[in-house]
Symmetry: C2
Subunit: 408 residues, 2 copies
């Protein structure tokens, strides 16, 4: 009798993002003629850059000739890409890494759960909250989250990111084994300063904590002095894995490519107290469980790091950031408390009058014909907030703002 | 203190394929001038077909324009590809499936372990042996394999495929919960007849066993009457997941795409006896853990199913099969017992004179300057055999055969 992993059955059958789609479909049936503006999406709207696309075409040409064809590639990713990553994303910020410390992946959503696979089920988990739900969900299915009661998983340490702490998660006063942090944070827009991130690294060094640091939105950081990588903090290579993605920077949501940094210094422990190199372990895992990312996609990713590629990335990011800054400016005198929009293309709105996030989502949908994301989608501390995304055309953002100003 | 999943530490540090590479490198140092022929590889040598490459270029063009850009796609794969799969791979053989039963994946190596994630750790596992090692390894890391003693994992039921049973694995006389089968088999070349596969389906129906059926090499089948899909057997939709790959058919080893069939009828059980739809569960898993395969790659995969694409696939398969048939013919009167080479591009050689697979591997390497794969790489019942691959150029195959004929 084939038995199921019953941890999967603990998760709610409908996830919040599916519920949003359901509500929107219902609205379209009830009000078919209304012109809805969807500001709930994470997805980019702009095409690949010209230079990136040209690199892909050249890679396809190589694949079409036996002399230049590429079959199985290294599970860890091609060295040409890993070297470009190190040179541009790390050396430029004074961080030294070797290609062996970079693992090209097919996106954070897969990778964050995959990393969980090499960790024991007994680890106590801490999660900055609110955060993208995969961090909690992947721990639920591997049996680390406990049971769901009153909106919380019993074994998850929710590191609250709320208005009173500036949305900056603080190290808890007890040891937690594995911690998920995200900066700039989706959805709140919080960024760690060097000193606030140093607190986490020091905590991790003291407690042998593993930090999984999601830096998906680092390229959206607008001010100098804010760390783009956790490795800007001394000692972080001993405690942190960093995850990056080309999705939001170069529009790779449909291509699937990012990377994971696992420094050689990073160790995890066995129950009897031995230290194991996380890098070796992950390298082993990739060899037996992964066949790498498409050669064509890796060529596209490498093209991001050329001067033309960088200009294309910058142009796309500037577009979305201009959207969100305009939205922030326009909505700032409406009486609604606004956060984010400085280093992420999202606004995080405090809901007035004690409405729940779902109530307010529906009110905005039917009142302003604008789709937002109820904050509760990102965890219990997201209740009382909604997120507005600037991954949309300028005209849509302007129209949404005009409607919201009238509606608030 | 971050704890490791200690199941990973049970696996041998060096896997067999890495050891082969190590031996070959050593040989090259000792005998630098020798012209080695490598017949140990699984990888294809021919480029993508012209039509498939052209479809990729068109897809890149779409991705390069905002009007036709594709961001996040469906986690399950695009319907255009899933429909092409059903029409060509299944309807043509009288099997009816819906797009909801097809899940596009990034390759069997990832997928087989991923499927293990939704199964409980308590399942008793059976594995056709020899077989590609990921089937056992993925169960080791999820804690289902027990301990490694005398070349065997204590909790794995090895379904022996040996000369005396024609390499056809037989259902055991006790219930096993999850069974991995592969037909045509890599490395032995065994194919299930309808009646031998029916025995397995009947066994699975009786015992509520889940069959994971790897049909990677189905397109290499040369004779009518041999099942290409397990769903050609009545009742199989109730018990079997089928895995397919575009790697060996269309040369996608460097692109990463295949698919998984999970029929709606398929159920797995909870400990308290409830039945759960495997299809719904997997669909849920994909939504939270996967972001799909590159749009460009899926367009390439769909192109395989056009008439030009089919011709290109057929041409590549014919090339490799002609290689192996020539090798089989030429080596057949050397006194070496040969298997396979009829429906897979591999020969499975019985080692004479009681040499171990590793001994014989080294003897062939230093004696004939031909690299084979020691059968033990594929499991304990591979001992006493080596595999020769026909994924090589015709001239290399001919030269290897000439050397081997002299050397045997």
């Amino acid at each position: 009798m084939a038995l199921v992993n019953e941890n999967f059955l603990e998760l709610p059958q409908e996830n919040v993002f599916a519920s949003i789609r359901g509500e929107v479909e219902k609205f379209k049936v009830i009000r078919p003629s209304n012109n809805l503006i969807d500001l709930s999406v994470n997805d980019v709207i702009h095409s690949l850059g010209t230079h990136v696309a040209e690199s892909m075409r050249l890679a396809v040409d190589e694949m079409a000739h036996t002399e230049t064809f590429h079959g199985y590639g290294p599970e860890q990713g091609y060295v040409f890409l890993r070297e470009a990553i190190i040179k541009n994303d790390f050396n430029s910020r004074g961080i030294h890494l070797t290609p062996e410390e970079i693992f090209v992946n097919d996106g954070i959503k897969s990778e964050i759960g995959n990393i969980g696979e090499i960790l024991g089920t007994d680890n106590a988990v801490g999660v900055a909250d609110p955060i993208y739900p995969i961090y909690v969900e992947s721990n639920v299915v591997s049996g680390r989250a406990g049971v769901f009661r009153g909106g919380h998983w019993s074994n998850v340490n929710y590191l609250e990111c709320v208005e009173s702490n500036g949305f900056v998660p603080q190290p808890p006063n007890r040891p937690v084994d594995v911690v998920y942090l995200c900066s700039p944070n989706n959805p709140t827009g919080m960024v760690f300063s060097k000193s606030s991130l140093k607190k986490w690294v020091d905590y991790a060094l003291k407690n042998n904590t593993l930090i999984l640091f999601d830096a998906t939105y680092e390229a959206y950081i607008q001010s100098p002095g804010i760390p783009h990588s956790i490795y800007e903090i001394r000692g972080a290579k001993k405690v942190a894995i960093e995850l990056r993605s080309f999705s939001r920077t170069a529009g790779f949501t449909g291509l699937r490519c990012g990377y994971t940094v696992i420094p050689n210094e990073l160790q995890v422990q066995t129950l009897d107290g031995r230290s194991i190199s996380m890098n070796s372990l992950w390298n082993y895992r990739q060899r037996i469980r992964f066949n790498g990312v498409s050669y064509v996609t890796q060529c596209a990713a490498a093209a991001i790091y050329t001067s033309e590629g960088k200009m294309e990335v910058r142009k796309a990011i500037d577009y979305y950031m201009k959207n969100v800054m305009m939205m922030r400016r326009e909505l700032s005198n409406t009486g609604i408390r606004l956060f984010g929009g400085e280093h992420v293309p999202y606004l995080w709105l405090r809901i007035p009058h004690q409405h729940s996030a779902w109530e307010y989502f529906r009110m905005m949908l039917y009142g302003a014909h604008v789709v937002c994301t109820p904050g509760i989608a990102f965890g219990p501390n997201g209740e009382g907030y909604v997120r507005l995304s600037a991954f949309a055309g300028r005209a849509d953002c302007e129209e949404a703002v005009a409607r919201l100003k009238e509606w608030f």
